[in-house]
Each structure stands twice: as structure tokens, then as C-alpha cells.
């Protein structure tokens, strides 16, 4: 009988993968569900096991199943050799799309648990040192060196410490966390167990947004399996270490992706941002020292421990070490996951991997790093993906999401949307964000309506200054970034005469 792999990933399912799987079963095939290979424009992307490899079939519909099983359909060849994948360096995503995400034996066969085993044989301090050596920086967006955070938590003295995984992936244009968890959940579990060991935490929480029901199910199943196999619980991998891991579901609040607001939410409170200090590493969840890392940060840890920090640090550029999982989204011909070392240029990602826009029209703008990230024009495509280089360009790498727009985009509308999104998702604690976001929408409406556009853009500039410098967290502090970058690069969209006034130019 033929074995076929049909992705169970939410993206694949959203375009009919479940129906395709059912059709294969009806057709007598053995159906196995993998994660997505990340070549999302090809979903549902079905793979048929052959003697020479896994033959791929793109955009499969139930009606195509008969031909595929009969061997009469045209395929993509062995997927592992597909240039789009071959051009990547998958470290964190190495197993995603390859194995059955719930098959713990397959996980181990593909190198799983090696990092944890090695870590458990080391001192906690050495584990922290290994992470420090890897140069890993927080993948959630802020890019804070993971080793420093781990060290702070490990050195905080407390009866109880926590490890929290921020899986509140709310930025539009990002989906890497979700795909990792749906495609290879044990990697995250292993990363959290290593982190818990390193910092001395006995409990872990994964805060997942409720918009990710597939991931929640996958994670819960995998955690149960990990308990059954002794990788969680009172004796992790026979080491005597105790670590309990819980999944907590958010409730529709973007701000809960901000770490302190996530902690408030985990405590069962309104997800309002906390003022810092104290930092969570010293006083976090329920006032205890808490390590908060993003999914991809924690998912990078097993490899760092398995292969050594140096191996990871060997990848990348400047102070941006290792790989980043970029996500190509929006109006893009070849959208999906591209895991490559830092240093690749924005243009290579958009044009080479992404193959330009889906509509075939010219690219006009790219937003990098989510709704709080800057809009960049194609003339900046030479920028290397590097935290510092982006910061210098008034932009940010963030979580590695890249959203492409063609030339039909109205950048004034997008700038307005940035304020609108902030108004909808602000926690409301600090004044610049709470009131400023709404005033931003109103003022931008006047600009769009042609009502004293110069004066109102000057007001927007003042507002952006107040929000940037006055806000409590990145929500209010960075909302000006898309707004001001749009005004800077596309003034013609804001002013009928095509020129924003000098004073309005940030």
C-alpha cells in the first residue's frame, strides 16, 4: 500500500488538507500527517513515499487523489531536493514537515532529546554558558541576548521559579511559532525542559493565543506523550529533575504578547503591561523569578545543546548569530517559511525565495517585523537581515515576518491602520498609547480627507514623538514606526500635491 503524507498544519488544513487526507484514505492509501514544509503557496502539498524519496504534489484537491495514487499525476520530484528547501539552512525547522509531529519515536530518531540529555549531564551553569556562547538572541522581536536572561533567572534565589514560553504570536505576517509547534512540538518541550534545568525552574507555562486551536491541540497531545515517556514530570529523562509543563490559552488580546502583560494574563488578570523594573527574571510570574522566551528562542535550544553553542554561533552575521526563521507573507508569490542564517538580504528573501508578488505587479512596500515594524521600499532591499543594520535603518527585524504589498497599496491607509490596530489592541494602561492611538486615527483621517494635511501631519509627528518617548511598552512606543516610515518613504500618499511638508518629515 502507498504511504502518503498530508500536512496537518493549520495553513494546509485551511485550504483543504483534511479533505485531501480523507480522499487518500478512501482511496486505500496509508495516510500520515506531517507538519508543513513551509512552502505554503503549494498547500495542500502532498508527499508520496517512493523508493527514491518523498515525491511532492502541489495544490492537491480531493479530485487529484486518484491520479496521484495511479501515478499519473505530475509531481515536484523528491521534495528534499527542491531548490526552495535546499537553499535554506533548517536548524530549528529541521524536522518540521518531515516527521509526524506526534511520533515521539520519530522525534528521537531525528535527533530529538539529544540536547536535553547532554544538558542534564552538565551543570546548570554550564548549560547557561552554552546558551550564552551560542549568541542566541530573543526571537520574539526584541533580540535580547538569551544567555544574559537565563543567567539572571538562574542566579535569582527563590523557592519557586518559572519558565514561560511566549507563544502569543500575534503579529500579522508571522506564523513560524505556530508551524514549529504544529510540526514539531517536542522541540519546544525539549527546549523548555533544558531551560528549566538551566535556571532551576520547576514549572513551565506555554501561553498560546486562542486564535491557534490546532497548535493548542498539538501541544497538549505532545505534552501528554512527553509525560508518558518521562520527559516531563517528577523525573525528567531519569535525571531526578522535576518539571511540569502547562498550556495556557490567551483570550483575544494582542498585547498579551508583551511579556509582562502575558504574565498578568497567566496570573488570571487583565493583560495590562507592567512597569519595569522589576524585570521578570527577578520578579515575574506570581512575583517569582521567571524566564520568558519566545517559541523560536526555546526551540533553538535543543540544537544548541546537542551540537554546542559554537556550532550555532558559527552561523549568522555581526551580533545576529544563528539562523532566523523568516516568514514570507501577504501579497507574495511563494509565501512560507525560510530558515537561513542572519545576513541574507531583504531583497533575496522577497524576490528570490518569494518570487515577487502574487498579483505579479511590482512590489511597492514591505513591512518587516509585524504591525509595529517599519514599511520599507524596494530601494532598501539591499539591507541585510541583522538586528543592528535594521535598527540603523529605522526598522526592525522583529519576529522575522515579512509582509509584501504590491503597487496598489495606499500607504496613508496603512499608516492609519497602524494607529487603528494600536487603538484596538492597546491595553489602555499608559496614556500615550491609550489616547494617542485614537487621536492618531482621527488625525490621519483628516490627512486622508485632505483637511489641512500639512498641519495634521505635523501634529502626527508630535504625536509620534509623544508615543515613541512616552509609552510604557513597545505597543505605543513602536506604533509610530510603521506610521513614520510610511510618511517618510511614500509622502505622495499623504499629501495631494505629492510632497509632505519638510517639518512633517520625520
Amino acid at each position: 500500500m502507498t504511504t502518503v503524507w498530508v500536512p496537518g498544519d493549520a495553513a494546509a488544513v485551511s485550504v483543504g488538507a483534511d479533505e485531501v487526507a480523507a480522499a487518500f484514505e478512501a482511496g486505500g492509501a496509508i495516510v500520515r500527517r506531517n507538519g508543513s514544509r513551509g512552502m505554503l503557496w503549494l498547500e495542500p502539498l502532498v508527499e508520496v513515499e517512493t523508493d527514491t524519496g518523498r515525491e511532492g504534489y502541489a495544490n492537491v484537491r480531493p479530485t487529484d487523489v486518484e491520479a496521484i495514487l495511479a501515478g499519473t499525476a505530475s509531481g515536484l520530484g523528491d521534495l528534499d531536493r527542491h531548490p526552495w528547501l535546499a537553499g535554506q539552512q533548517r536548524v530549528t525547522f529541521a524536522r518540521v514537515g518531515v516527521i509526524d509531529p506526534q511520533d515521539i519515536a520519530a522525534y528521537e530518531a531525528h535527533g530529538g532529546w539529544a540536547g536535553l540529555r547532554r544538558a542534564l549531564g552538565m551543570s546548570a551553569a554550564d548549560v547557561v554558558a552554552e546558551v550564552t556562547e551560542s549568541g542566541l538572541r530573543g526571537r520574539g522581536g526584541a533580540g535580547f541576548p538569551a544567555g544574559i536572561k537565563w543567567k539572571t533567572v538562574s542566579e535569582s534565589d527563590a523557592d519557586l521559579k518559572f519558565v514561560c514560553c511566549n507563544f502569543d504570536e500575534g503579529d500579522s505576517g508571522t506564523f513560524a511559532d505556530r508551524m514549529l509547534v504544529e510540526g514539531d512540538p517536542f522541540t519546544l518541550i525539549e527546549g523548555m525542559a533544558i531551560a528549566a534545568y538551566a535556571v532551576g525552574a520547576a514549572e513551565g507555562y506555554i501561553y498560546v493565543r486562542s486564535e491557534y486551536p490546532h497548535a493548542i491541540t498539538a501541544l497538549r497531545r505532545a505534552i501528554e506523550t512527553a509525560y508518558t515517556h518521562g520527559y516531563l514530570g517528577h523525573d525528567v529523562a531519569g535525571s531526578g529533575m522535576s518539571f511540569d509543563l502547562h498550556v495556557r490559552v490567551g483570550a483575544g488580546a494582542y498585547i498579551c504578547g508583551e511579556e509582562s502583560s502575558m504574565l498578568e494574563s497567566l496570573e488570571g488578570k487583565r493583560g495590562e503591561v507592567r512597569a519595569k523594573p522589576p524585570i521578570p527574571a527577578i520578579s515575574g510570574l506570581f512575583g517569582r523569578p521567571t524566564l520568558v522566551n519566545n517559541v523560536l528562542s526555546l526551540a533553538a535550544v535543543p540544537m544548541i545543546l546537542a551540537d554546542g553553542g559554537q556550532a550555532y554561533a558559527a552561523l549568522g552575521t555581526g551580533r545576529s548569530r544563528g539562523t532566523q526563521v523568516f516568514q514570507l507573507a501577504g501579497n507574495i508569490a511563494q509565501g512560507g517559511i525560510v530558515e537561513v542564517p542572519f545576513g541574507i538580504t531583504l531583497g533575496e528573501l522577497v524576490n528570490d525565495f518569494g518570487a515577487g508578488t502574487l498579483t505579479g505587479r511590482p512590489v511597492r512596500a514591505v513591512q518587516v517585523g509585524g504591525p509595529l515594524g517599519a514599511y520599507l521600499p524596494p530601494d532598501q532591499f539591499g539591507l541585510p537581515m541583522d538586528y543592528e543594520a535594521f535598527a540603523e535603518a529605522g526598522a526592525m527585524v522583529g519576529h522575522g515576518g515579512i509582509v509584501v504589498f504590491d503597487d496598489s497599496v495606499d500607504m496613508a491607509r496603512m499608516a492609519r491602520f497602524a494607529f487603528e490596530f494600536c487603538a484596538a489592541e492597546s491595553c489602555g494602561k499608559c496614556t500615550p498609547c491609550r489616547i494617542g492611538s485614537v487621536r492618531g486615527v482621527e488625525t490621519m483621517d483628516r490627512v486622508i480627507a485632505g483637511d489641512d494635511p500639512h498641519g495634521n501631519l505635523a501634529l502626527i509627528d508630535d504625536l509620534c514623538n509623544t508615543m515613541t518617548k512616552g509609552s510604557l511598552c513597545a505597543m505605543g512606543g513602536l506604533t509610530p514606526m510603521p506610521v513614520q516610515s510610511a510618511i517618510r518613504h511614500w509622502p505622495e500618499d499623504f499629501i495631494a500635491d505629492g510632497h509632505a511638508s519638510e517639518e512633517a518629515r520625520p
Binding site: A10, S14, S172, L266, G330, P371, E425
Partner: protein, 152 residues
């Protein structure tokens, strides 16, 4: 409304909510899991549920009320029969989500059986416009495919 006092099975609501809350008492910070379960079972959080949960968790009514009102998932009115949530995030906007949202909203503006909401990102940003229809994630949506799915 009938379901504010009784479950669909006809059992009184308050004891059931109390039982749900009590089942979560061993969790740290159990309020959100409890509210999720109440919404899953009853479709919304009623004022009486707020009082019951506050009592079980030994919180003030005001605190629970504040939490319920913060999160969009914890709706306080019963849901319509069909629920469409369309993504208005930038990635989906890049492929026409704004027009889709406006069209579908207009189509169901006066409907008592279909409610349309905006969401910001469902993590399906390469296959937009995305949305959920009665809880199921769908990609590459257009007005026609939304209508077909709602009718199903």
C-alpha cells in the same frame, strides 16, 4: 434569555458554573481557563457567572468583571448561530482583506443568524485573506467562498 439560567441540558446554570470553577481551583491563576470553559459551554459569560466565579476564586466581582471585559474572547452576549471572523491584519490586507471584510459585513449587517467580526491575524498570512467560519480556519477566502461556507 433561557441559556442565561440553564444549560442546554436544562440543568441550572449557576451550579454548573460553580462546578467548572471548582474544577480549576488547583491551577495557578485559574480565571482565564475557567472563563474559556464557561464560554465553550454556554456561549458567553453571564453577569451571574461573574458573581459565581468571583465567589469560588475569592476574588471581588469587580476584578472578574474587569478581566472579562478586557479579553475579546469572553463575550457577554449569547452568540448568533453562525460566526464569521475575518482577518484584517496587514498580510491579509495586502491581498484584499479590507474589501472582503467590508463586503461580508455589509452582507450580514441585518442578520440575526450570522455575526461578522474582525480579527487581527490567524497565523495564515501566506494564504490570505484568512478567516474562521464557525470556528474553522480557512485561507484564500473571497466573498463567494465565505457565503458557501456559511451556508454549509
Amino acid at each position: 434569555m433561557e441559556d442565561s439560567l440553564t444549560t442546554t441540558a436544562g440543568t441550572p446554570r449557576a451550579p454548573r458554573v460553580r462546578a467548572i470553577a471548582e474544577q480549576h481551583l488547583d491551577l495557578r491563576g485559574p480565571l482565564l481557563p475557567i472563563l474559556h470553559e464557561v464560554v465553550a459551554e454556554f456561549g458567553h459569560v453571564d453577569r451571574s457567572d461573574v458573581e459565581t466565579i468571583a465567589d469560588v476564586l475569592n476574588l471581588s466581582v469587580a476584578e472578574v468583571h474587569g478581566v472579562v471585559s478586557f479579553y475579546t474572547d469572553f463575550r457577554t452576549e449569547p452568540p448568533a448561530a453562525h460566526h464569521v471572523a475575518l482577518c484584517r491584519g496587514e498580510a491579509c490586507q495586502a491581498v484584499g482583506a479590507q474589501a472582503l471584510f467590508e463586503e461580508v459585513t455589509a452582507q450580514h449587517r441585518d442578520s440575526s443568524t450570522v455575526e461578522v467580526h474582525e480579527v487581527f491575524c490567524l497565523g495564515n498570512c501566506a494564504l490570505g485573506p484568512s478567516g474562521t467560519i464557525d470556528g474553522r480556519l480557512r485561507g484564500r477566502l473571497n466573498a463567494e467562498s465565505v457565503s458557501t461556507a456559511v451556508a454549509r
